[in-house]
Amino acid sequence: MEKENIVVRFCGDSGDGMQLTGSLFSSLSAILGNEISTLPDFPAEIRAPQGTLGGVSGFQVNVGKGVFTPGDKADVIVAMNAAALKVCALGSKFNQKGATYNEQDALFKRDAVVIVDTDSFTDKDLEKALYTTDNPFTELGLPESVQVVPVAVTALTKEALKDSGMDNKAMLKSRNMFALGIVCWLFDRPIDKAIHFLEGKFAKKPALIAPNVKVLTDGYNYGQNLALSINQIRLMAATEQEHGTYTSIAGNKATAWGLIAAAEKAGKRLFLGSYPITPATDIMHELAGRKDMNVMVVQAEDEIAGVCTAIGASFAGDLACTSTSGPGLSLKSEGIGLAVMAELPLVVIDVQRGGPSTGLPTKTEQTDLLQALYGRNGECPLVVIAASTPANCFRYAYEACKIALENMTPVILMTDTYLANGTGLWRIPQMAELPEIKPQGVPEELKGKYNPALRDENGVRYMATPGMEGFTYRNIGLERDSEKGSISTNPENHQKMVLARQAKVDQVADRIPDAQVQCNADSDTLLVGWGSTEGHLKAAANQLNCALLQLNYIYPLQRNVGDIIRSYKRVVVCELNSGQLAAYLRSQVPEVTLLQYNQMTAQPFQVEQIIDYVNNL
């Protein structure tokens, strides 16, 4: 059976190694020439009791050709225990008494293949997962079209390792490899490649290689025995990709690496001031480990100190960044305002999560847009850009640094949980091919005459840094005189300065590429999205045969955005919020009537639902 693409979901207890299994399978598939898009689904609890519904951890991957998203619903489920099966079968209703499978809520399709570890369906397991009968499959009301493949994974794993001398607990840790073996067989992944790959993964723990390879191989061979009951699936190779060296990368790591590359290109040290916050923390983790790249990370005492230490480092001449999520962005508002007023380069990364307040820390949402645009006191313009795939977090993090350094402005880079934790294929760039970054400096002839109000022909103020002789100056969060740079409360001067700061941000539009319409540009319907919804909207637009405008540059807008929007008969702004981009676009392109498609479930879009909505307009 050949398929264009297939969605696989690995799920089990937090301790079952599902994230590792899923990412191994994804990377293996990518190496074999498939496109991939992945989405981990962590439980909200750090470590819920084993076998309970709260402890189910999932990893979904879409592999094959024409892959834009991790997929709405799975075609293949690997459920390592009874709780995992329940969560997958009932979706968001898993906690509802008496709920049964319905395709709307379920995480897998009606005709899915469901591989379960039958050894994890004992009475005790069922009790922990709050089943009320001893027949979980009937109780969940799985349709007959669902093909359940029962495998005694635990027993077979123990059997595979019986001569290894390992204790029971250690053996059980390899259960996931048995499941991976079956899935490798199912998708016809050559076992030798999988073994080779596994050896690489465990290179630092060589003692674990042999047992895991043994279990993986046994799982693969077991799959061959299953051939009578299920068909192997052959996936189509990726659509023509730009030639190059690829890897699979998660959004947060790509973001961190974009900053590293930009610092090197700009000839600056990278400084990150940050405070741990889900789901942004992995950016700090990655950078804290990159001292080899001369990265300075200050884990600050709070979010405010995160941005303020970065402002200090920027003032002193570093490429300064701070990473956070919504609640942290709120706390940083005053600091960001200071950077606007002091006209210092600063990159603020907002990995959005469900809000308001503490909200849904592990879930995804696009609800910080208006905060990023307007959430500060005073007239406080800055640049706002958004990444739209895990891989292009690299590009937009790099771009954020370039814009900040060249235009002496804070830049807020928006990503979200979905991009942060999801992975996709990334073509690894060479330093030489990345665009030049020319940080704003100060002409030597201003020595002895410098002040912080002096601007270049683009209205960007000149930047002197401590240590430079003959350029000492005082920066301020107070209003400054437009000529002398010292404190000023003069009314006309304030108006002049408000306009100067605005003009400086507005001219960034001259330095960024025009927006491109994707999918069927000739349609009379245009979907408009921003940030992380690109994959879902692209998949929807392709099926609807309509046009898509996915914005990466939010403020300022690219020069041609107004013209594009005006040229379509029907424009639908699709967002994971109640209409923040739509509200903003109405202020920028007021003459156009914008329709809206909004989802506030703190989950990624479902492509089918977008299609239904547009079709019913």
Partner: protein, 344 residues
């Protein structure tokens, strides 16, 4: 270098008679004595009367936002340890809105020279009580008297693991300059509590020691390695006594020629005695009810604590150098080689 080298062209806008004028002059004098040129000196401040200071100094300066001077200064010094970094702050900026940054810059021992101007009042917002106003203090925001206990800044500094604490008085220029010079020499977070008079909203708050006639009797300038002697006639000394019942140590006043007179050791790592010294004579400043306290103990001025410890800025930069020295990859192109990758 001379003090004039550190004066900016800005008109100094502290109120006439404000203690900040004296601190400003002392700072310019200290900077000249220290000899780090203006372009390698950075002065960071938050908000408040004291935080206007950077504008009057011909160094690099940054007058930031309320309470955040400590965090901004940490960023400057950590990223560029070769710079000499000063932080100007007040009792509100440092101990209220910026309290968190204050304790953490001390805990980390960032090599900063922190001048905390303590006038026990909010001056710039025109007269509200501060975290160092004595309990019962009447102000615009406490018309019936505060019901809060104040901070004693030294307690906070020592509690946060402070390695340097000095106290000085606006009207005592030599001590102020000396504290500043020593703060610069000390590697780590050096806190100088500058007792300043707010002539408008809290005039005379430090009169007990600022008054020329009372000062010698009511204060002592501690000097490392010197006997703790004070009094108009230099006839009194300080000694320590342990209460036989509670085992609590107390400082007592003894005749100057008593053999028990202590010799000041600012470099003693154990802060017990430094704390006792810093707390001397603080009753008057912590509760209005004790404003007439006639404690025989003098208020300690000068450098009370000055110990050596690794600084954050040095340690974090050293760690980067160590990792880089043994790293396989030092450039982005080398780094990407470490990724699992394949051709497409």
């Amino acid at each position: 270098m001379v003090p004039q080298d550190f004066k900016s062209d800005q008109y100094v806008r502290f109120c006439p008679g404000c203690g900040d004028h004296a601190i400003c002059a002392a700072l310019q004098k200290a900077m000249a004595e220290i000899g780090v040129p203006p372009h390698q000196t950075v002065v960071i401040s938050g908000i408040g009367c004291s935080s206007r200071m950077p504008h009057y100094l011909n160094t690099y300066g940054f007058n930031t936002i309320h309470g955040r001077g400590g965090a901004v200064a940490t960023g400057v010094k950590t990223s560029h340890p070769e710079l000499t970094v000063w932080q100007m702050s007040g009792d509100g900026d440092c101990l209220a809105i910026g309290g968190n940054h204050f304790i953490h810059e001390i805990r980390r021992n960032v090599d900063l020279n922190i001048c905390m101007f303590n006038n026990r009042i909010y001056g710039l917002t025109k007269g509200q009580y501060s975290p160092t106003s004595p309990k019962g203090f009447i102000s615009k925001s406490s018309p019936f008297g505060t019901v809060e206990r104040p901070f004693i800044p030294a307690q906070l500094v020592l509690g946060a693991g402070g390695t340097f604490f000095a106290r000085t008085l606006d009207v005592d220029m030599p001590t102020t300059v000396d504290c500043m010079v020593q703060a610069h020499k000390h590697k780590g977070a050096s806190v100088i509590e500058c007792l300043v008079n707010c002539v408008i909203f809290n005039n005379g708050t430090h009169e007990w020691i600022a008054n020329r006639e009372l000062r010698a009797e009511h204060s002592i300038v501690l000097k490392h390695g010197e006997k703790m002697i004070f009094g108009t006639n230099k006839d009194k000394g300080l000694a320590i006594e342990i209460d036989p019942q509670t085992f609590i140590p107390h400082i007592i006043v003894v005749p100057a020629d008593d053999e028990r007179v202590l010799v000041h050791d600012a470099q003693q790592p154990d802060p017990t005695l430094h704390r006792l010294l810093a707390l001397m004579g603080q009753e008057r400043f912590t509760d209005v009810a004790d404003a007439d306290s006639q404690s025989p103990l003098p208020v300690a001025l000068g450098v009370i604590r000055n110990v050596t410890a690794d600084t954050y800025d040095q340690a974090v930069n050293r760690q980067i150098e160590e990792v880089r020295a043994r790293a396989k990859a030092q450039t982005f192109d080398q780094l990407t080689q470490s990724l699992e990758q394949w051709e497409m």
